[in-house]
Symmetry: D2
Subunit: 375 residues, 4 copies
């Protein structure tokens, strides 16, 4: 089996989830390429050392430019704050590295487009990690739609809600300051649901939006006074899809009781679906094909051998968790590298998502519907 | 006990639900006024006769103008198509009748305002039957909000979905033709959710909206050719409330698997709620007051003696159904007549709801946010 | 239309539910016989007077023997404590009255048999009000089973739980004293689930059981000291059905959080069902007929026109409540009277249920499996 | 950090789950002992080789006696069919190895007792892998009970259901033949629920039981004719706990729609709980401490940092899966080895569980209640 060396840039929460997948994917999936955890890159050397030791990264680096230039690195995995994605990805591409990039791809559509162009020019495999496409239940949803089991789609209804910032005393961080690279819920959460909507329904044609920052001043950590929150706490959008469906998206960090509530409903002319990431092994499916007196939403536990990715795991009914989606992404990414075929979502998808987010920002600012140009 | 005579104008689905409540309210609630089912009015004499016999209306009439002018009628219950509400209510008011009017109050805010003015001028009790306020679980929601258990409200998220028109072969009716008095989902379904949002959250300050008619031509019943649908199949709105909360409303008749899915979620700084009319005896409540390790949405079965209206019915756990809300409305209406105090929602509420709907129509037409003036 | 006079004996909680149904059945169902609320019988004359006035019973009586002997009474509705069912039913039968009897039919199988014999000898229509058979979702379950959609049945799992006596300070009543005619959970709750199990699965062949009184002494109301509880607080049974299925039944008044939790699951070779009375409009159905990748329990909201009894009520998705089952029972009872055909469950069913309960008592006392003889 | 060598005996489904945990535990938990995957032992050398390569076991062995005798092995992990547990564990103990043994511990209480005696005599750490104790939601249940939040416990109701053998054409295997070491649902599934019941409620004092083999003949794989199933397809038990609570247990492989449905409810004088392994991140909790008008079962998503084990994983709302319980078990086992303190459930627990299962077998055979002696 071929072995390729991976460099990871960043070592936070996402660094753990990615490392876990790189390290163990081959135990559960029959990979053609064995990833080798070659080098971890970060700025805080002590923390980086602990991270590398724990996860088995052979070396550490503190300069990402040197890291992506290393001849012994074949794959660059970007898990830094989004502010840095653009520069790292472009340099990695120029050095001919395959790129596995955390979401959101970039801070705006222009950045995303440049990243896409660089990766295409370099001919490398590029991937943006909207990992929820690879939840078995969602991959099953895609399959049902492709088989025509929903018919013509009329509605996409979605929400991505958590309660991470409800506490007004939770102190300020850079993540809440746009000028420090912070992104709001639109880029953080909607990027995921837009990815799913495009995957499952189609391209978005126009947007209206409202946005809100509920708590505008927060105490500074270890300092007197407060700092100004310059990202959104909540953003809602209504969209028209190119195929005529209506869509809604709501994202908030101010929804008590919701923790990772990535929820959607899809209604079509022959059937309907709903999904909630907090119960990510389940898909709700309603079908007109059922006899009239026994119609209803059915809870499919997507852990059967016939379900996408599920045969790699445990017996039916033995559920999987959040990090398993990273295994699926890494497996498919390695296959893409092996075969040279593109993987989705890739930087082209990242561009489209960023275009919708940019349009939503403009719509929220102006109060006017923004029509996306044909792109 | 005092007895007052009721006249009902209209005898369809809603006529049944109202008749049932007038006839039986006094068995379950201690009323000060005994309603007497005096006269039923309608145009199809044979059907009206059967209706009156079945429900115990003492007489029938075919002219609503004569009906509302009868000196022996004290209460007029309007269950006609919405097209007629305006004229009937105004005449009824002029004749000094108390008015119990089905929703939506009117076809637009101007009509609603005239109805309100007439009723106020006449000094009669007026009520618009957004009956869901009187679902025990929703009345409980109101109580929790009034007690401050949700804190400052950040989000209202709602949908009113059914699947009544998904079948493209379902034939045309007047209800789908605006020019024949038909109303779309906005007026039909959103009027209910706007009522609930105003009741539970507050006044709406601005609106953006999208609207859609998915099936624009339908076969004519018993005729060749098709007719043009001139009302909306689906309308979605995003709103700002005066108190700063964000709101979403989605209504559709194209949501397979949903039958009477009047659903909302409310998120506040201290707690959250959710409700689904298809499980109307239940309220979901999340509270920050719970210790951190036992927080979660709680399913309250609102059938306890301590819950609003519930003591009038059966033992705890013995659920009630759709029509019980009509009893609650009739009981409270009779109390209003007895005490001379207003009941809510009344025509003033109907005006506000119609103003939001008018704004939504304009927003959907223009693609622009519409700010409601202070009213 | 023919009119028959009804006498009701008893006027408590069940008196209300029955009166409501007699009074209003003809508004929702096309009856051949119009029931006339002729006479209400009870011992507390003042309370009885209020009851009769409220519900429209034309007369009152205080002696049940005279009541059941009245020539102008055609139907006797027995809603007294179970202690009296036996004598009243036998007298009513002897006077040729049709009998609508609340559950449990009798205190034991011997009594039930005598009631059955008397009713059969008299040739009257007899019915025991295990009303839950007529919940639309349960009638639908029966239909699915009859159509073979569950195949061979392997398991019946049931529980009927409430929390009515968890509070150890709740004072003593006659209902907790066997010597005063009190019945425990077995007769009160299991009688319902045994009825459902026989209806849906088949006859029970043998029983093992455990029983418990958790709080054996309770304060007397308005008296010093405590009284001894002489009925069971909880009883559990395991049974073999004649067709080879295994069954479980658990009943308790000590299950906090459950209020009227009449729950069952049925597992067969082709499909499965589950039901919970607290969500009585819903039936969960799993079918092997579904393609493997979309199998799951489906929530059927049994409010469609194609569902049993549902067309008589409201639109789909508009749920019904507890008391509607009484309408269904009264409607079917009136049809039985009209056609002279038996209705189920009748006194023969009451006998079988009592035999199972008697066997459970013996099993719990002896710790041994009790085999029911072929009956 | 100290390193200890592990030998695994067996390499099936459970071999994968255990290997994964040994290999990765140190990435998520701060272990004092680093487990080293030293040797994998099995009989099918080719399959074993693949297994060892995939999971990183340094060597393979085909003779378990030699494996457990190796001086370089410190921990023996037994994942063979239950038939072999007894001999392997006793030999491992005699060689002074710490023992991590899959469930059920043994084929009967006598075997289990001998294993316990051997392990105690040897002074080694012994553990039987009833891993569900270490589901965070169940560990939380334990904590709630220990804090007195349920009060006095009245009821344990449980079921462990799957549908693995509903298909009558699924061919015979050794697992269905007692004479080949096969175990039925009682030992396979009830052993887990008995472990949970003892953990959460207390010791079991008496048992009544029914058992059934629904499909007694199955086709032989690759041979003509059928073989006789000599284990149970379903077994149900009712028990009395020493503390006076009543318990029920049902296990079946004939429950269509259930895949790994390890379900329980606990009812106490102050609160109630329910849990379903198919939604293993959730615990339902009802508490009398809540004000009366907001009581209900609460769905706690046990992924908060304050929940047992959860802080080691992802952010709140990011659920974990089946295999995570193995990490928890391995982590606690390593701590036990490190500190020399016992871990639960251990072989003493295995003995008690086997005694209940033996009693259930006798109860089912005789139809009589079996009282466990004080042990």
């Amino acid at each position: 089996m071929k072995t390729l060396n991976v460099a990871i840039i960043g070592h936070g929460f996402m660094g753990r989830a990615h490392s876990h997948a790189w390290k163990n994917v081959a135990q559960f999936f029959d990979v053609d390429i064995q990833p080798n955890l070659r080098v971890a890159c970060g700025r805080d050397q002590a923390a980086l050392r602990r991270f590398a030791d724990r996860w088995g990264w052979a070396e550490i680096e503190t300069d990402w430019r040197e890291t992506v230039a290393r001849p012994d690195v074949h794959i660059v995995d970007i898990v830094t704050p989004p502010l840095l994605h653009h520069d790292i990805a472009i340099q990695a591409a120029r050095h001919g590295k395959h790129i596995f990039c955390e979401k959101p791809l970039a801070l705006n559509a222009r950045q995303a487009q440049e990243m896409y162009d660089a990766a295409q020019t370099a001919g490398v495999v590029h991937y943006v990690n909207h990992n929820y496409r690879r939840v078995p239940a969602i991959a099953l949803a895609k399959q049902l739609i492709q088989e025509g089991r929903l018919g013509r789609i009329y509605h996409w209804r979605s929400a991505y809600l958590n309660s991470s910032w409800v506490d007004p005393q939770r102190p300020m961080t850079a993540a809440l300051q746009k000028e420090k690279g912070g992104i709001g819920v639109a880029a953080d959460l909607h990027s995921h649901t837009i990815d799913l909507a495009r995957y499952l329904v189609g391209e978005i044609a126009s947007v209206v939006a409202l946005t809100r920052t509920f708590v505008t001043e927060r105490p500074r950590l270890g300092e007197a006074g407060t700092g100004r929150v310059t990202v959104d706490d909540a953003t809602s959008m209504l969209v028209e899809f190119e195929n005529g469906a209506l869509g809604s998206f709501e994202a908030s960090r101010f929804a008590l009781g919701r923790r990772n509530y990535n929820y959607f409903e899809i209604y079509g002319s022959r059937g309907s679906l709903s999904f909630n990431l907090e119960r990510m092994n389940e898909l709700e499916f309603f079908s007109l094909d059922d006899p009239e007196f026994v119609r209803g939403f059915k809870t499919i536990l997507a852990t059967e051998r016939v379900h996408p990715y599920a045969a790699a795991w445990w017996h039916p009914g033995h559920i999987i968790g959040y990090e398993h989606t990273f295994y699926h992404a890494v497996f498919d990414f390695l296959n893409a590298v092996s075969t040279g075929k593109p993987i989705a979502p890739n930087f082209a998808d990242g561009v489209q998502i960023a275009r919708v987010l940019d349009a939503a920002t403009r719509a929220a600012e102006t109060g006017e519907q923004v029509v996306l140009d044909a792109g």
